[in-house]
Symmetry: C2
Subunit: 122 residues, 2 copies
């Protein structure tokens, strides 16, 4: 393996900086269902601001993970979609998000137990 995410100098780390980001994960996953327009992404992903969304989209486009298509409608509409490489990545992202959703009960139990142990110790 020529690339190593554990090495801060390795370009793979730079990509991890883009991909290992909660907003990027949500955007990728949302695009996995098909092409989506800018404002639709913003509305669907609760809490995502326009500024951060446009930054995330630019990074993902630069990395070749998504495409940006402008339609000359009035007003102009812009559609974002996964590239083949983006789809390939998303195949690994989906399980991560799905895992979070399906293990929440166990996680919440662990958090409660942890907090209780802390307050007992104090």
């Amino acid at each position: 393996m020529a690339y190593d995410v554990y090495d801060s100098e390795c370009p793979a780390r730079a990509v991890l900086d883009h991909v290992g980001d909660k907003w990027a994960l949500l955007v990728l996953n949302r695009l996995g269902e098909g092409p989506v327009r800018f404002n639709a992404l913003r509305r669907d992903i609760n809490g995502l601001s326009q500024k951060v969304l446009s930054q995330v989209l630019k990074r993902l486009e630069r990395d070749g993970l998504i495409t940006r298509t402008v339609f000359p409608t009035v007003p102009v509409t812009v559609e974002y979609a996964l590239t083949r490489m983006g789809e390939c990545l998303n195949a690994n992202v989906g399980p991560l998000l799905h895992w979070a959703e399906s293990n929440m009960d166990q996680i919440r139990a662990a958090q409660s137990a942890y907090d209780e142990r802390l307050s007992e110790a104090a």
Copy 2:
């Protein structure tokens, strides 16, 4: 599905905030190879500061993803290891990091192409 990562009010989003973090991904993945001590993690994961590492470890421990074991040696040693749930999560994290490493060539090509298009347009 009772939980929804797209909803900013959902606890699943809070967990995504912990898990969708480059440092947490690297820590989890490193622990996937077996228990590791604090300073070993810090040394192995290039660029990770003590402060951030201790924050990440606390969050992951609270979420029930890792265990923290103190050995009364001199000086004291602390070992971190994945719980069963952590291992389960890591099964989804590994492919993500591996994907980044094995697709770097294609990503770098996309970045170069993107940058060239930008400079041409300017």
